[in-house]
Symmetry: C2
Subunit: 284 residues, 2 copies
Amino acid sequence: MLYLIGLGLADEKDITVKGLEIVRKAERVYLEAYTSILLVNHEKLEAFYGRPLILADREMVESASDEILADADKVDVAFLVVGDPFGATTHSDLLLRARQLSIPTQTIHNASIMNAIGTTGLQLYNFGQTVSMPFFTDSWKPSSFYDRVAENRRIGLHTLVLLDIKVKEPSLENLARGRKIYEPPRFMTVAECAVQMLETEEERKEGVYGERSLAVGVARVGSTEQKIISGTLRELTSIDMGPPLHSLVLLGKRTHDLERDVLAEWAVNPEVLNEVWTKDYAKQ
Amino acid sequence: MLYLIGLGLADEKDITVKGLEIVRKAERVYLEAYTSILLVNHEKLEAFYGRPLILADREMVESASDEILADADKVDVAFLVVGDPFGATTHSDLLLRARQLSIPTQTIHNASIMNAIGTTGLQLYNFGQTVSMPFFTDSWKPSSFYDRVAENRRIGLHTLVLLDIKVKEPSLENLARGRKIYEPPRFMTVAECAVQMLETEEERKEGVYGERSLAVGVARVGSTEQKIISGTLRELTSIDMGPPLHSLVLLGKRTHDLERDVLAEWAVNPEVLNEVWTKDYAKQ
């Protein structure tokens, strides 16, 4: 059996009881280590689970999935994913491949940022499609997220923006030279995201959002170090929310009074939030 | 401290290790028993947790929240919610009330249908806003869900439809007579939902979806009895997916080839699915 097991968001104790039982009896245990990270390192997971973990990078999952699936028709293999196993497309691929090989599969779900973002007090029913924000470079500033945000905004919905992480990726220079030398891990911050959003609005000029648009930054959701801050995009460009992981929500205008009450608690500047809300967001 | 603890989707072992540790040491443990249910009864939870559970119905949570919060500034109170604590608005209210009383709070997240629906193979990025489908009566057929589905469809997105459950609700007759006598629990099925959707299209006639629209029905997600079926809405009107809980996804047209491959595996009739997909859903 191939088990896909979600690890939740923060630390080694966010695994479910069911997931832990499987990890402890599986023949091999892989940890998917490139689409997200927990706030503890894999040694801590190994100590708590009482099992050695095989780190699975993008290369292994995408090109060598048969290695992961070897003998899984006879023995139990556990594949651990931070958050829920279905956050990233890659794991659908792995399941599909398992089914082609007639390997039975089971998924143990867990929290992911896509539902835990409700911790902001924003109602999950009012979220539109989720988008991803990639790190811009001097020559590469993809703005497809902008069109998606525009679609959500047009119908009044909030947008969850997932921020880029780079783990075990070669630099362009090393890639060009065919060298497997990796850059240090990078995690986009709420401030960097807000800067890139304003840069994109400056470029596209379609008025999808602007300096006065309200947004909520979150960091380390699900941990005791969780932090939530609300304010205008301009305000968020100079916010330091500490260590990763960060995400951002851009507010839609189909709001609920209860949402205002909660957002006020996290405000960088309650007066600014109140003024912008009353002028631009409250039901007329 | 007030702890809001998600229980996940299926049974007593879907709680996280962290959640279970808190349940075992809390002074009082409440189980929210009206917005969703696990697939096991509360006696089974009590046996596994080793703790008595106080059942909290809608009345208690909405009108007597101070009873739940009593002494929570001095002792630990655990409030258990099926899925993730932020699926239903009610729990935002409870947190807000706790903060007003200066009671510290912490949330232990878990899987909810809103992220676990990824188990269908449909990509979470392609979902728009989630809607709820209420039980229709002869005189009450609210169709606000139809407008939301229309918004999602217009931009090509899938819609997750959450199906009504009625637990501990008085009949209209008993309500009118002020009697606290409750009807037996009812859980909407995928077939009932498909029937109501087609009835609403018949009524509204805006062509948002129709008998040939593709949808995916799911039942008991996260359990070993999980079932997934894909087909046209017409096909789903006569499907029996067994015991609760059920949910439905109405397909958007911004699809991915990988989604077709996965949906084909769950098809009521693979030929019909294939024909409709090629004609109406595949990228031209």
